[in-house]
């Protein structure tokens, strides 16, 4: 089959690789019909994640048609499904508590050591995102093997086209959980740092969950305009001092809840020294938690801090005094995607949520390398690239 493979910094290629096979009873094989490039794929592209191997297939936002099933799968051939980026077994203690992103079993034993050393416990498996999260092949390909296919994939009814439901795989549930972690109450003001896809969906979700007002913070004019079109007030941090502006806009109280939808990645996840540091037993100073500091300082007393933004190592100079003295509540984590897909699919079906506004570019899968380049170099214009494996390659200028 054809697949987008990683070979090094800014070097991704379309290559012919072996087809995946059913190897475990609960597996299914999906023929991909749509797959997106995620912001976090850019950090693989930029070569910041050290546990990627040359030739690995990328992609963790994808959907398609079931073409083969193992005897333990509950899927049927021909069904259209969206697949959560988190791989979860559905049977362990965490999965039973719907903490799918904490699944104990999906990271293969021989891959789990590194994260166990880094975090004390092994991380959960995910598609196409390095060997730290299991070394699973991703979905920017013609086919993908989906483990535990009786738990993750959600069947899409006919009539809902791919573009409307594709983001159930990651960023829509991630934005929704980011807002849910704010425990929004009537009258609340929610401030969202970062207007990338997750930030924009967090804004949308915050309104749906009853926020009185959302304030969006970024510096890309086009992304701020999208936030504004969704009803958010906007702050361009190139123009104002964000904390002072928030103080002014909230009558001196501060936002009731704050969302860090940036994480360390936009500032450069310099995890390249993580491997060495891990070998020397965890002593990491890798993360640049600028936004995390901002959100903690800006949040009102007794407010809520939600962190969907990704952090990987150790953070320095976290305002721990403000965190404690203001009595803040903090909720974080990779998204428990499987917890939200059913509800969000219903909302999409009923027209309560539309995510298609985000897609700025659609390309044949064969043009994926150009897609990565565009997404990296033109962040203002390129908000989301969706790849279609069954489209013929086109010449991109």
């Amino acid at each position: 089959m054809r697949a987008l493979t990683w070979h090094g910094k800014h070097d991704v290629r379309m290559e012919t690789v072996p087809d995946p096979k059913i190897v475990n009873p609960r597996d299914a094989i999906i023929k991909i019909t749509s797959t997106a490039i995620c912001g976090s794929d850019l950090h693989l592209y930029d070569s910041y994640i050290p546990t990627l191997h040359k030739g690995d297939i990328l992609g963790h936002e994808f959907m398609g048609e079931v073409v083969e099933t193992g005897p333990g799968s509950t899927l049927r051939k021909g069904q259209r499904v969206v697949v959560p980026f988190v791989i979860a077994c559905g049977k362990c203690f965490h999965c039973e508590k719907t903490q799918f992103a904490a699944c104990d079993n999906s990271n293969p034993a021989e891959k789990a050591d590194m994260s166990e050393v880094m975090y004390g416990y092994p991380m959960t498996g995910a598609f196409g995102y390095s060997h730290l999260t299991g070394g699973y092949a991703g979905g920017q390909a013609e086919y993908v093997r989906v483990p535990y296919s009786d738990v993750g994939p959600i069947v899409i009814p006919d009539g809902l086209e791919d573009d409307k439901v594709l983001f159930l795989s990651d960023i829509l549930p991630t934005g929704w959980m980011a807002a849910e972690n704010c425990d929004i109450e009537p009258g609340d003001t929610v401030a969202v740092w970062g207007c990338g896809p997750v930030g924009l969906f967090a804004i949308q979700s915050a309104f749906l969950q009853g926020a009185h007002r959302v304030i969006a913070i970024d510096h890309h004019p086009n992304r701020l305009a999208l936030a504004q079109s969704m009803g958010a007030q906007i702050l361009n941090y190139h123009d104002v001092k964000v904390r002072e502006a928030l103080f002014e806009m909230t009558g001196g109280i501060g936002p009731d809840a704050v969302i860090d939808a940036v994480g360390l990645e936009s500032h450069g996840f310099t995890i390249d020294n993580v491997l060495d540091a891990v070998k020397a037993t965890v002593k990491l100073g890798t993360d640049r938690p600028h936004v995390l500091r901002e959100v903690i300082l800006a949040c009102r007393k007794g407010g809520r801090v939600s962190v969907p933004g990704v952090y990987g190592g150790m953070g320095d100079k976290i305002p721990i005094g403000a965190l404690m003295e203001k009595g803040l509540q903090v909720k974080t984590g990779q998204t428990h995607v499987q917890r939200y897909t059913k509800k969000l699919l219903e909302m999409i079906g009923e027209g309560e949520i539309d995510t298609t506004f985000l897609i700025s570019h659609r390309l044949p899968l064969e043009n994926a390398p150009e897609g990565y380049k565009m997404f990296k170099e033109q962040q203002n214009e390129v908000t989301k690239v969706v790849l279609k494996p069954d489209w013929d390659k086109e010449v991109v200028q």
Partner: protein, 197 residues
């Protein structure tokens, strides 16, 4: 300074006896002294498995199941109700063998074994099954003490076990948990499970 005996007693009375014992190295030392071994190493690991104690015990007690999740075990041949013949892969396409005899067996709770003299690796071990808090399955603890053998074979075996014996125990117990909880063992092995270029 407390005597070894005193240290051991305190370790066994601790709420984390495995950690205390490994930390103090007295379990291994005592096992080695009692058997006139040259030296002894100990590995131990606890994992919680979301299945009933009796089920986990029964699966483990049928030693023929062990190669399903233990990476290096080629085969376990059951000789009678106490004894079994173990064949384990070693580097350079070699295998090592020993015959193991059950020394203690409590239904649903504990299996202890010891290798009979004459095998390639002297080893003694036990696996215990305890109820986790209500509704949370079973805490499984594996403890193995072994005498790293000398000579060429010893060097090979050292590569096999001593390289990262803790890692091996961790991987094997992790696969046991996966198999018992999910019915399968997670894999991203190329090319079938996870194609790559």
């Amino acid at each position: 300074m407390a005597s070894q005996e005193e240290n051991l007693r305190r370790a066994l009375e601790s709420d984390a006896p495995l950690t205390a014992a490994v930390h103090q190295r007295d379990v291994a030392r005592q096992a080695a002294e009692a058997r006139n071994w040259d030296e002894a190493s100990m590995v131990g690991r606890t994992v919680t498995i979301n299945r009933p104690r009796e089920e986990l015990y029964a699966f483990w007690r049928d030693f023929r199941n062990l190669p399903l999740f233990m990476e290096n075990i080629v085969s376990v041949e059951v000789l009678d109700d106490r004894r079994s013949r173990w064949t384990v892969a070693a580097p350079a396409d070699r295998t090592v063998q020993w015959t193991s005899a059950i020394t203690d067996d409590e239904d649903g709770r504990l299996i202890a074994w010891e290798a009979e003299p004459g095998g390639d690796i002297k080893n003694v071990g036990r696996i215990t099954f305890r109820d986790a808090p209500p509704g949370r399955g079973t805490e499984v603890t594996a403890e193995i003490v072994y005498d790293p053998p000398g000579g060429d074979l010893g060097k090979l075996i050292a590569k096999l076990f001593a390289k990262e014996p803790k890692m091996q125990a961790r991987h094997d117990l992790r696969r046991f948990k996966q198999l018992m909880e999910t019915g399968e063992i997670s894999t991203s092995q190329a090319p079938d499970a996870a194609p790559r270029a």
